[in-house]
């Protein structure tokens, strides 16, 4: 009897996945634990391991195609074994996603068998595994005998972002089918947030009827094309942010001379340690320091409540394929330049290769977006909710400036801070921006 390979449900909100690559061809021998395929979800790209030994008999969902979770996408079995045709559900693209249940209600989705008396039964190793990974046992669906969670269940589990909702928000989210997980937040989501989303979130996969209704006039060769899950998720996030935050962008010039000198003086010695030092890293260091001094900027705002974060988790907008993701580096305030440089490069590499962990994606407190390399001298970035501000970094341009009455040429760079006026007024924004400038223009102050 051949084993079915299912489209995994990697996390609470995933309803479908797109096969990026099959690591094995039909007819290849497969051992349990081999990489079998990589799948793109609305958040990350995951490599999925085979759960059975045998031969990859048949691939039902080819590369590039999307299929709903838990539908059969391939068969593994004995060589030559014949397998039934693909179940209808697998052949057609995923159906419109059901509203994702909020995390708070998620456990109701998992099998009941193993939770009598509220205790989640699991093998000792599964418990250890879940504990080490910080997974909540209760959310892991059990496939073991007597309904116990097995190690394999823990391994197949990808946790949902830890979203907390107010009861009212949870109800609304359910009724209106809002995917609350797009808030990657440590904060409690309130009614207002959900309502804010409803008007802007575009349906992840419009019902066919809706499509024809909204269809643009058909010209030869033109066809509405489904965008990637990642793009849809970006779209949702951006519109959400746009609707939620009344924002102002402040621009301040920086004399990059000292910054360039600093990099020049450290570059080689860092290189020896195999560390590539960029202006971004210096910028992050200074920003982190400034943020520790402006708790209201290193914060998030919700339902007229402000949460001031104890750590600076600096997000960095990273281009990825046709999209953009924002991984963040934790506790930057405590990191030295070398650590920041190392951490950042690793993070970017991970982001580009889809190796990011959920943890690397969530919990940011402030974001930096740099378009310098593209010669941009001014722009107004959009805040990465529920943060309160984002720093846009522009190109360094040799510019004639007046110093002590003399016109001199200096490498100048614009910093564009977009701040949420609900919390951050002009003066605070300016002071913050000015502080970063001071630190960049005179890095010794970092020691002060």
């Amino acid at each position: 009897m051949a084993t079915e390979v299912l489209m995994p449900k990697l996390g609470l909100t995933m309803t479908e996945g797109t096969i990026l690559e099959w690591k094995k061809k039909e007819g290849d021998p497969v051992r349990k634990g081999d990489l079998l395929f990589s799948v793109e979800t609305d958040k990350l790209t995951n490599d999925v391991e085979a759960d059975a030994d045998g031969t990859l008999l048949k691939i039902l969902v080819p590369e590039g195609e999307t299929s709903g979770c838990k539908t059969v996408i391939a068969y593994i079995g004995a060589p030559g074994e014949t397998v039934g045709a693909a179940p209808a559900s697998a052949a057609v693209p995923a159906p419109a996603p059901v509203p994702a249940a909020p995390a708070a209600l998620a456990s109701s989705a998992a099998p009941k068998a193993h939770r009598e008396g509220g205790y989640v039964t699991a093998t000792p190793y599964a418990k250890k595994l879940a504990h080490d990974k910080g997974f909540p046992l209760g959310e892991i669906s059990a496939t073991g005998p007597r309904g116990m969670v097995m190690a394999r269940d823990v391994e197949a589990f990808t946790p949902a972002p830890r979203v907390k909702l107010s009861p009212m928000a949870a109800r609304l989210a359910e009724e209106m089918g809002v995917d609350v997980s797009v808030f990657e937040s440590v904060n409690r989501i309130m009614k207002a947030d959900v309502l804010g989303m409803v008007h802007h979130e575009e349906p992840a996969a419009p019902a066919p009827a809706a499509v024809s209704a909204a269809a643009p006039p058909e010209c030869a060769g033109e066809k509405p094309e489904k965008v990637s899950a990642l793009r849809r998720s970006i779209a949702a996030n951006m519109s959400a942010s746009w609707s939620i935050s009344p924002r102002v962008t402040y621009t301040h010039p920086v004399d990059a001379t000292a910054m360039k000198q600093l990099r020049a003086s450290l570059k080689d010695e860092f290189k020896e340690q195999g560390i590539k030092l960029t202006y971004n890293h210096i910028l992050m260091m200074c920003t982190a320091r400034a943020l520790t001094e402006f708790p209201d900027v290193n914060a998030s705002f919700r339902d007229n409540m402000i949460t001031r974060h104890h750590h600076v988790n600096l997000g960095l907008a990273v281009a990825k394929g046709d999209g953009l993701i924002v991984p963040n580096l934790k506790n930057c305030e405590a990191l030295g330049l070398a650590e920041i440089a190392k951490g950042t490069e690793a993070m970017i590499e991970a982001a580009r290769t889809g190796k990011l962990t959920m943890d690397g994606m969530t919990g940011g407190t402030f974001t930096i977006s740099s378009l310098g390399p593209y010669g941009i001298t001014s722009f107004s970035p959009i805040i990465n909710q529920p943060e309160l501000a984002i720093l846009g970094v522009c190109d360094i341009v040799d510019t004639p400036v007046v110093r002590e009455g003399q016109v001199v040429v200096r490498p100048m760079m614009n910093l564009c801070l977009t701040a949420d006026h609900r919390v951050i007024d002009g003066v605070m924004a300016s002071r913050f921006l000015r502080r970063i400038t001071e630190l960049l223009e005179n890095p010794c102050r970092l020691l002060a």
């Binding site: 051992r31 349990k32 059975a52 030994d53 045998g54 093998t123 000792p124 190793y125 599964a126 250890k128 496939t143 073991g144 005998p145 007597r146 116990m148 097995m150 190690a151």
Partner: protein, 330 residues
């Protein structure tokens, strides 16, 4: 190397040891008549050129074992044969209160180097008085050592160790082993007690067995391998002392354990093994520890009922599946 039956291999072991050491002698009922049960002693006296050291005993287990304890304490190395494990209880006191304790009670003044050979296990329709596997009792008795060989070669090496060993040793030999043949080294070799043998390496599940159950486990492993399940099989060889380290190491590797023996399941030695795993390899367990043994009844005579009391490859195969969570518990 040469192909020998278990009967021949253990015969060689005794012959070589009795020639090497004049203090070794064998005593049992019918030992000269038909060469003892299963003909394991046929021609032994002549083979060692000293028929006087192969002694016919009256039907009196108490005397056979008791006298051996006395002889051992006075410098000899008796090999005692009890014909059927079910005869052991007739000499239980001599074994657990005399043989096992004499050295300890007397502060090490005496030693009791003796071997008690006891054929056991289900052959065919011998009924309740000739078939029990009683090894568990003696693993609970400090002072005794318990050996359960699994092949002709193992039998030879372990029996030699048992004879040279200075402690009282119970040597349980499944009746189905007697005719089993296999490669047996010609040379003189011994196998240390307390060292298990990994019969087959595997990564998915540890199957812990001993005696006749080893070959049955291997049969099960073949079938499992065909399904891509890779079982590791451990032959304990000796139960007291037993190789905890080997078992724990294997279970920590595979995360799953199946313990099997032909003896009655309740309070059998399998309980000690799986209890130890539950204590000391707990965090590594990916599944319940599966324990397989005979049901809680004496062995019935009718063949179809008797079959229900055997532990066969199918039972181990099914147990492994349970350990893998392939099917839920019965």
């Amino acid at each position: 190397m040469s192909i020998k039956s278990y009967r021949e291999a253990t015969f060689d072991a005794m012959k070589e040891e009795m020639i090497r050491d004049g203090t070794v002698y064998a005593i049992a009922e019918d030992i000269n008549g038909n060469g003892g049960t299963h003909g394991r002693y046929t021609g032994l006296g002549e083979a060692i050129g000293d028929p006087g050291r192969v002694i016919d005993a009256p039907i009196s287990e108490a005397i056979i074992v008791g006298s051996a304890v006395g002889a051992a304490m006075s410098g000899l190395r008796p090999i005692v044969d009890l014909r059927f494990s079910n005869c052991i209880p007739c000499a239980m006191d001599e074994i657990v209160n005399q043989a096992a304790k004499s050295r300890y009670m007397f502060g090490g003044q005496a030693k009791v180097p003796m071997v008690i050979r006891a054929p056991d296990g289900i052959l065919k329709m011998q009924g309740a008085h000739h078939t029990d596997c009683l090894e568990a009792w003696f693993t609970h008795v400090p002072g005794l050592q318990v050996v359960v060989p699994s092949t002709p070669a193992e039998g030879k090496g372990l029996l030699k160790t048992a004879i040279r060993n200075d402690n009282p040793v119970l040597f349980f030999e499944h009746k189905k082993l007697m005719a089993m043949t296999g490669e047996v080294p010609e040379e003189d070799y011994t196998i240390p007690f307390g060292k298990a043998r990994v019969v087959r390496e595997g990564r998915d599940v540890s199957v812990i067995v001993y005696g006749i159950m080893v070959s049955r486990a291997l049969e099960a492993a073949e079938k499992l391998a065909a399904e891509g399940i890779d079982a590791e099989i451990i032959d304990l060889r000796t139960l007291s002392p037993w190789d905890r380290e080997a078992v724990l190491a294997s279970v920590k590797k595979t995360g799953r354990a199946v313990v099997a023996h032909e003896a009655v399941r309740q309070s059998g030695f399998g309980a000690e093994i799986s209890a130890t795993i539950a204590e000391e390899a707990f965090g590594a367990l990916k599944a319940p520890v599966i324990r397989i043994g005979a049901p809680f009844v004496p062995i019935p005579m009718a063949p179809n009922l008797e079959d229900l009391c055997r532990v066969l490859p199918e039972n181990i195969y099914e147990g492994v599946h349970r350990a893998l969570g392939r099917q839920s518990d019965r």
